[in-house]
C-alpha cells in the first residue's frame, strides 16, 4: 500500500490514489484511438461497435455444447455437423455468426484434435463466445504447435501414446470446433444432461468433457 497523495482532496472522506488511465495497456489505448478516428471519418458508428461487443459477449460455449450433445445422441446429425457445421447450427436454431466458416472435427479413441491460432486469436466465437485469455497468450500460441503433448499435460490431459494428435492452426477463414469424445457412463443421459458435460476447453481440444455425476452414472 502506498500513502494517499497529500494533495488529493476533492471533497469526499476517503483517501485513494488518483484515478488515471496510467495502467492502460498500450493495445487498449491504440484500440481507443483507432475507434475515435474511424468514427470521426464516418467509417463506423459507435452504435455499431457497441452492438458488435454486445453480440460477442452474448455468445457462450452453451451453443457449441448443444451441437456436441446432439451429435452424441444422433449419428446422422453428427454426419451433418461434420459435413457443414453452419447448416447444422442453423438446424438447431443457433446463430453461426457472420462469415468465417466453421469446420467441426471429431475426437475418437484413435485421433485427438486441439485448436490454436498462432497468428492471433481466431476462434469459433459465434458458437463458443469470447476465447479464454490463455488461448490468446504467446505461450499457448507458440507451444501448442511445438510441444502439444506437453501443453495438454499441463491442462491435465494425458493422451495415450497410440492416440494420433492433430494440432489445428486456424490461420485463415476457417474456425474449428472440436467434437470431444462422449464420456463413458453416459448412455442413460438425455441430451440436456449431456450438454452440461461439454466444457469450453473440451471443444478447443485441451480437455475431455466433464465426467457425469456419480448418481447419473
Amino acid at each position: 500500500m502506498t500513502a494517499p497523495t497529500p494533495d488529493h482532496d476533492h471533497g469526499h472522506d476517503h483517501n485513494h490514489e488518483p484515478i488515471t488511465d496510467a495502467g492502460e495497456p498500450p493495445a487498449a489505448a491504440r484500440a481507443r484511438a483507432l475507434e475515435k478516428l474511424l468514427v470521426e471519418k464516418g467509417v463506423i458508428r459507435r452504435e455499431d461497435i457497441r452492438r458488435g461487443i454486445d453480440w460477442l459477449v452474448s455468445r457462450t460455449p452453451g451453443d457449441g455444447a448443444r451441437l456436441v450433445a446432439r451429435a452424441w445422441v444422433d449419428p446422422e446429425f453428427k454426419a451433418r455437423l461434420l459435413a457443414d457445421a453452419r447448416a447444422a447450427a442453423l438446424e438447431l436454431g443457433l446463430d453461426p455468426g457472420p462469415s468465417p466458416v466453421v469446420v467441426a472435427v471429431e475426437n475418437t479413441d484413435a485421433v485427438h484434435h486441439m485448436v490454436v491460432c498462432t497468428l492471433c486469436s481466431c476462434y469459433p466465437r459465434a458458437l463458443l463466445g469470447p476465447p479464454p485469455d490463455w488461448y490468446k497468450s504467446l505461450a499457448y500460441r507458440s507451444r501448442a504447435v511445438s510441444d502439444p503433448r506437453g501443453v495438454l499435460s499441463e491442462f491435465g490431459l494425458e493422451l495415450e501414446p497410440d492416440v494420433e494428435l492433430r494440432v489445428l492452426d486456424s490461420t485463415a477463414d476457417i474456425r474449428y470446433l472440436v467434437i470431444p469424445r462422449r464420456p463413458p457412463g453416459t448412455s442413460e443421459l438425455g441430451e440436456e444432461e449431456l450438454a452440461a458435460l461439454v466444457t469450453r476447453d473440451s471443444m478447443i481440444g485441451v480437455a475431455q468433457p466433464a465426467a457425469p455425476a456419480a448418481a447419473a452414472a
Partner: protein, 93 residues
C-alpha cells in the same frame, strides 16, 4: 483448385512485407494436403481496404511436427495442420 488431397506441397519460403496469413514456422517446409476448403477473398489485399478479389483457394496442409521443429523432444507422429492459401504452395516431391 490446383492441389488434391494427399498431394505433397512445399510452402514458398519468401518474405512478405505486409499482412499475410502464412506463419513463418511453415515457410520452406513440405507438408501434405488434407482438405480443400473453398476459395476466399485474399486477406493480403483485403487488409488494406481492397476487395480481396480474385478469390484464392484455401487448403488444410499437415506437417510432421519433427520436420517443423527438428531436435525438439516429443512424439514423432504428431502433426500440425495449417490453413494455407494456394499462392503460398508449390508442388513437392
Amino acid at each position: 483448385m490446383t492441389y488434391q488431397i494427399g498431394q505433397p506441397v512445399r510452402v514458398t519460403n519468401r518474405a512478405h512485407d505486409g499482412h499475410h496469413r502464412t506463419p513463418g514456422y511453415v515457410k520452406g517446409k513440405t507438408g501434405r494436403i488434407e482438405r480443400v476448403h473453398d476459395a476466399f477473398r485474399n486477406p493480403e489485399t483485403r487488409a488494406y481496404g481492397e476487395d480481396g478479389l480474385p478469390e484464392v483457394a484455401l487448403y488444410l496442409v499437415s506437417f510432421a511436427r519433427e520436420d517443423l521443429w527438428p531436435g525438439l523432444d516429443g512424439q514423432s507422429d504428431e502433426r500440425i495442420y495449417v490453413d494455407l492459401y494456394e499462392h503460398w504452395l508449390e508442388e513437392a516431391g
